[in-house]
Symmetry: C2
Subunit: 344 residues, 2 copies
């Protein structure tokens, strides 16, 4: 009873037309008499008929799905981040408005993922790849995909390959803004707690940090650059080193909110007063950023917009292969949200 209750043939019979006409009416293809149109739609409604999406996909040779590929690590619930939620919502928005399906795909980050197979098996018509890094296995998967000229887009991660489509945020500029803000507050000794260098945007953050320092003629000091991995725990661990260097530091720029939150916890446990003892600016403007005490000054990243843009561009490309630029390359601007953690 969950089977399609009826099919095109029945509708055609009831409406007194051929199956082709039914198909044309339902897809709005070709010229047709208004009266026929109405008769067909009426018959369809009476029979409670709807197009079988699978059969339609099959006939068209397209799945009608946009794939979203996520790294999946059993224990680490990667979804549990602001980042993925926002991106997915943005993608969902675009997909919904274009009548596509949104297929969620989980990838094992430790193996070379056979993206091309998704297309070969016709599970997706295009896909968006989230959470890539620069590990060898990831690079290889993406490069293969690019070489086959399949429609896809990488999110917020640089690739050297000019065939790789990318939608990203300008983290160099975002980081520059963040550090410049601290400088404008009179800070001279500005530390940097960065995330894993396996992500290209960690390098971008470093570039922005360096540019701001240089512009203010502040000498770069490697000894106040700390290494985390974007997790809260790594932030908390860094508190040890940061606390040790505390009288060397006016402020610290942190690569994301989660590390900043961990860092703040760690520092407070050691008796630090924030922002009096150390001004902090972090990155992402996640939900948690305004919940901390003090609230975090942080760089807002338009994740939702990025998701939406990537999806829209891909779907446009599918709809009009001829007139669309096959390589997507967009860089969105970030915005500094000033709160109390930077001493404002």
């Amino acid at each position: 009873m969950s089977k399609p209750l009826t099919n095109r043939k029945e509708v055609a019979k009831l409406a007194g037309v051929s199956e082709a006409t039914v198909s044309r009416v339902l897809n709005g293809v070709g010229p047709m008499k208004e009266s026929t149109r109405e008769r067909v739609l009426d018959a369809a409604k009476r029979l409670n008929y709807e197009l079988n999406a699978v059969a339609s996909s099959f006939a068209r040779g397209k799945s009608g799905n946009l794939g979203v590929v996520l790294p999946y690590v059993p224990k680490v619930h990667l979804f549990s981040t602001y980042y993925f939620s926002e991106l997915l919502s943005g993608i969902g928005e675009a997909v919904r408005s274009k009548g596509y399906g949104l297929l969620l795909l989980f990838r094992d980050p430790s193996a070379v993922y056979d993206y091309a197979s998704l297309y070969r098996t016709q599970r997706v018509d295009a896909c968006i790849v989230l959470g890539t890094n620069t590990a060898e296995t990831e690079l290889e998967g993406i490069n293969r995909l690019a070489e086959e000229r399949l429609p896809f887009c990488v999110m917020d991660q640089k690739f050297d390959n000019p065939l790789v489509s990318i939608v990203a945020a300008d983290h160099e500029q975002g980081s520059y803004d963040a550090v410049k803000h601290l400088i404008s507050k009179g800070c001279q000794r500005i530390g940097f707690l960065n995330g894993s260098m396996q992500y290209s945007n960690s390098w971008d953050r470093m570039s922005g940090y360096l540019r701001a320092l240089e512009e203010a003629e502040i000498k770069f000091d490697e000894s106040i650059v700390y290494q985390g991995n974007y997790s809260r725990t790594s932030g908390k661990n860094a508190a040890e080193d940061v606390y040790r260097d505390l009288n060397e530091l006016d402020a610290i720029f942190v690569g994301n909110d989660r590390m900043a939150i961990g860092l703040m916890q760690g520092l407070r446990e050691k008796g630090c007063r924030l922002p009096e003892d150390l001004k902090i600016v972090s990155y992402d403007d996640s939900d948690a950023a305004s919940l901390t005490e003090p609230p975090l000054t942080t760089v807002k990243v338009p994740f939702f917009e990025m998701g939406r843009l990537a999806a829209e561009r891909l779907l446009a490309l599918l709809a009009d292969k001829e007139n669309s630029e096959p390589i997507i390359s967009e860089k969105l601007q970030t915005e500094l949200k000033v709160r109390k953690s930077s001493g404002s």
Copy 2:
């Protein structure tokens, strides 16, 4: 070039067998000679052949997808991302291991959603419905679905209809545990900041709260029950009333972490010391719960497990329609995580 490069016919030709044999080898159906099997697999590999998922779905009359239906409100992020993230990860786990696809579907909460259409159009074989409430439009959609005996499961929400499959957490017990914990800490005057009563689990929380009071022979006092809507803002707003009643209160039980965080912010702004002035226990054990100052004592809900369980049960039902109980009804236990906000 992104089209399936080859098809079954080519493989059959290369292997020197019929198409049916190729199909049988690929699906592992029926008895076959090992040598033939190898020849076919070898030919498939040489031709870089993979089964066309759409064609296969079509022939089987199944989409091979599990749908996950989410409420979608563009600007407002109604539910904590934690909730959805965990659930989705759990569902993803199950889906992945069974070779199904995970189709994300967005529903307009203000309209009656035509769930049945998802099946009629064969977009999904089963679905999981997240974030329902007891509004008329929601009830109607779900009840229709149930009447048609379609395979689906509602997440963490009660329905009167015995045909509705549900996987939920035991919020009555969870709330009871939370309040009892406060009582064991010597609290007698325990307030309750609850979320919207349009969600059945808000009623469950109330029941648990009442049971714990009753058991301790504490008289229920309506004047210290406050109404929020699960948002942080509503928690902050409630701070006004709670502060006013502060010397009436030893503690307060809060319906979720987000409201608790808002409440704490509000109270602190008024100069409250926590947990000295007011002990707090909240609900969800989201990421943010351990980030607050003081960290929240809160009820952990096994969202990941709930998602996985719902998906597994549904897929089992699809795989073996005969021997599976068609109505899923599971209630998972919660766990109290004791932290400093309750004065521990």
